[in-house]
Amino acid sequence: MNRDRLLAWGFTLWALLVTLSFVWANGGQMADKFMQRLGLS
């Protein structure tokens, strides 16, 4: 695997891990706050 492919796969997996972890840890609370802010809950 050349360097570019390594970077592409590495970043793809890392971005998935970071994004899903962030959403899992904060998504519910963020959604609640935004709904509250918009007066929808």
Binding site: L7, A8, T12, V18, T19, F22, Q29, K33
Partner: protein, 608 residues
Amino acid sequence: MTAVLVAVLIPLAMAGLGWPLVRRLVPGLGEGERLALAPLLGALPLSALVQAVGAWRYDFAAMAAVLAVALAFVIGLPRSVPPFPWRWWPWGWLLAALFGLLALSALAPPIDHDTIRYHLTLPRRDLELGRIALWFGWSIYEFFPPLASLLTRLAFALGGAEAAQMLNVVWVGLTAIWAGLLVRRLGCGPQAALAAALLVVGQRVTLNLGSGVTTDFPLAAFIGAAVTVALSSERGKGAVVALGLLLGAAMACKYQGIFAALAVLVPLGVLAVVRRRGLGAVIGAGLVAALVLAPILLRNYAVTGNPVFPTAHPLFVAGGLDVFAPFTQAMTRQTIPGGPWALPWTMFILQDAFDGLQWGFPFILLGLPFAFFRPGRARLILLAMVALYVALWWLVMPHLLRFLLPMLVPFCALGAAGLAQVAGVAVPWFRPVFTAAIAVGMVAQALFAGSSALYRLPVVFGLLDIRQALEVPAFRYYSLISPCLWLEEKLKPEQTYLALVNDPSFYCPQKMALHGLRPGEERAFYTVGVAPLSAAEIARWLRRDNVRYILMVSNLMADDERYAFAKHRFDHVVAPLLAGQHPLLDSPSGRVYDAVPLIAALERASGQ
């Protein structure tokens, strides 16, 4: 538009004062770096000038004279700025949009907690007093390093709260510029520089606090510049002095600057020892930095007996209170999963385990590992500085993510360098994947930006008045907007009021508030405590100081920073007596009572 004018003239004056220093100290830096360095080095003499004149007289005329003198130096500035290799990159547009949003938001009345509690309350008090005071026993905050707050006072006297907030947007701008310049030093191109600047402006903490008043962004700008100068090829005595001045200025903005300066100098010192050259320069820079901070430490020692008052008070004063104990005890109850070893992950992903979503979407973490796919000593030194600061933060400070802001520029520079590394990958399927990853984060940050703007912009555009905007649960208890505006309107000259509050609010008159300590009680307030007052003593005090009204906040005693201001001295005696009185003003945030029946009740209670 006074705010905009003031926010243009102050950095110009700073640059004019700093340019002769830049020309002399770091002639070999890049043209852009030298221009961006000028306002930072000029902040030192300008703040000294504000202090010198303000101690004698602090009002619009005196501060206008200070600014006019400083602006005379603008004549020495170069007539052109270096060209930026601009293209129609989306990062540039996003950056412009976010700065536009911050600048518009800065025109709103202050809503940020610390801006209302002390960043603008102290300048307002000083403006009412007519001089920049250092009032032991009034607050702990006036003993914090004053560089940035002196410039806030300059802006406040000339253009009010909006100008002071707009100046903070300028500091955000300088921080973003230094992130871009540092990324260029790391060998990246202009797109990466714009991305680094965007990372600074796009963090949730910036979107929230950028249009308030802070000392965090000045500190971040100084550290960003210091790191860039340290990583440059400038090695002469001038560069040593410039590095020392920048680190000293960082320390003169906020005590955390001391740890940030250590985090910059220690890796440079270790490197110098390994290479067996340059250690003298590192020590020299440290000495210059210490000289900049020394007058502040001496002042605090002379007044309070503690050079770093209000921190570490028990270390310096026998029987000294741990002023922040209630706050730090609350913070130490946090459990951070994984402890210090998991910090690189938890501080970006589990932000709520600290002080909430300060970064928002973890763009920095997304790019950080990839910054090291390209070999470069500068990136490793930068990482060592960041790691050392995070270690000191973990060991010494309350675990607030906001206290990581001194390293905002290195963090964003490394994050942007990593993203730039990945963006250049030539694999056909990867382009949409990369775009999607960035887009997800941008949507999250756009929601944060919109949420912050929704608090401020309706007031700017006249859709809400200030009472409607601030008399809401999120802001009411520290803005005290209705009772403060009522007092502002009703109090006559020579009348005063007694405030039963958890913290003073910027919106209330300051000079007319009854001060809760008698002369000579200041040291006792921060050590053994002051003696309780009887009803008779309070009645005499209220009569003597012509107290006309009593302001009582609705959530009195919900306070975990009891020693931040002289407060709560009258609460136990006065609050129960007020319960039987009809308020002159009743609002969700607090009530205002007539002092005359209260004084009568106090006298009855004491049998007079």
